[in-house]
Symmetry: C2
Subunit: 240 residues, 2 copies
């Protein structure tokens, strides 16, 4: 990766190991993004082939999580990294947990899409999910990009997009509840949409988590459990 | 901790550091367990003081997460552990993430309890949550106990209790949907109960995660993404 964040190490091989690990994280992130896009398309367009693919492809993400985790442990044991390198490896270990769980959320949406196909999906308020789905997919992509380039400014910008994701989600939830009240017979299938919206909202939260790890990596400052303003302040501050 | 898992290190101070870290994890786990118990009591008994306490106490859990994370990084950088010790530290880093998120779920339940108090909570089917809440609280306690003693057999037993948690949750969900259909005006407050049930179910999942880290620590085998049977097989196998 062409980035000043990754200083040259005495050992060229160490450098290569770190870059290989980051490359795998990006591959894993790409798979999650694809799963998410397929899941939302399956739901919104009622595409059963895509839904089936999402439900049966999650194992690839899981396998990568286990492989990367293992690789990080081996690098730590063998290279005994400190400071920035160690922070990076710990950030990777945390980020892949979030990515794997996002994969689970996408799988959940895929299953809901299949459920809905068995019911009367034509009369369900699904369209609103397309916009939320696109928003959180862009958050995920932005978070991965910030991670790859260790760009804390971008990480802050992406994290702030979670405010809009939450407000879109709240709006969808109000509409879904109204719909259920007006048409009680629709409740089981509306609940499938509720779970899908929730899954999307969680993917936004987890993209934000990844952004927080970037700030931790670059600045050495833990910005979890802080406000967006505090996060921005830490991200623009001096490097420790 | 009096346990053969923790071998004596050349450095007595290293031993003390590891034990101190584990002690902090247990303190954090105890706080989460208390938050969970208070949240369920607040919900089921309509106790607003308890609900307020849950909502305002989460920061203590968050602070501990940041402190333990920091401590683990410092131990890794200073002591350069390998094998079992490194696995333990990585397991701690993962486990506290789950504990922190369980704290968030408890806080969510506390907020739902406050919501419900503003509405007509007397006519809401809340009682069923008491049993699920108690079940996942026992799972959490069992998982923490297995972690403290690094007992992989107990970890497998606790993880298997997640099957019952999931089936209780499904049963509650079916009842709540029926209730909403029969009384559409109740939908907003029933949704508060839906989110609470979901939060409890997630706490069961995360207790199971902690059990998986115990098996990883003790056996060096990654049992995430495997069936309960495979997990039991790995846990009883020889130590790598």
């Amino acid at each position: 990766m062409d980035n000043s964040f990754f200083q040259q190490h005495i050992s060229q091989q160490f450098n290569e190991e770190l870059e290989d690990t980051l490359q795998k994280v990006m591959t894993m992130g790409g798979l999650v993004e694809q799963q998410l896009a397929d899941a939302v398309a399956a739901l919104v367009e009622g595409d059963s082939a895509k839904a089936e693919r999402v439900v049966t492809s999650d194992y690839r993400i899981n396998d990568l999580e286990v492989a990367i985790d293992d690789e990080c442990s081996h690098i730590i044991a063998r290279r005994q990294p400190t400071a920035t390198d160690l922070r990076l490896l710990i950030a990777v270990i945390k980020a892949i947990t979030d990515l794997e769980r996002m994969g689970d959320e996408a799988e959940r949406i895929g299953r809901m899409a299949l459920h809905l196909l068995e019911r009367d999906r034509n009369h369900s308020p699904i369209d609103e999910l397309a916009s939320l789905g696109e928003h959180v997919r862009q958050m995920l992509r932005g978070a991965l990009d910030a991670f790859a380039r260790m760009d804390s400014d971008q990480a802050v910008r992406v994290a702030q997009q979670d405010i809009q994701a939450d407000s879109q989600y709240e709006q969808i939830m109000r509409e879904l509840m109204k719909y259920m009240a007006e048409e009680p017979a629709s409740i089981p299938r509306i609940m499938d949409i509720v779970w899908s919206a929730r899954a999307l909202e969680r993917i936004g939260d987890r993209s934000r988590n990844i952004c927080e790890y970037v700030v931790y990596c670059v600045k050495g400052k833990d910005v979890r459990h802080t406000s967006f303003d505090q996060m921005a302040e830490q991200a623009t501050g001096d490097r420790r």
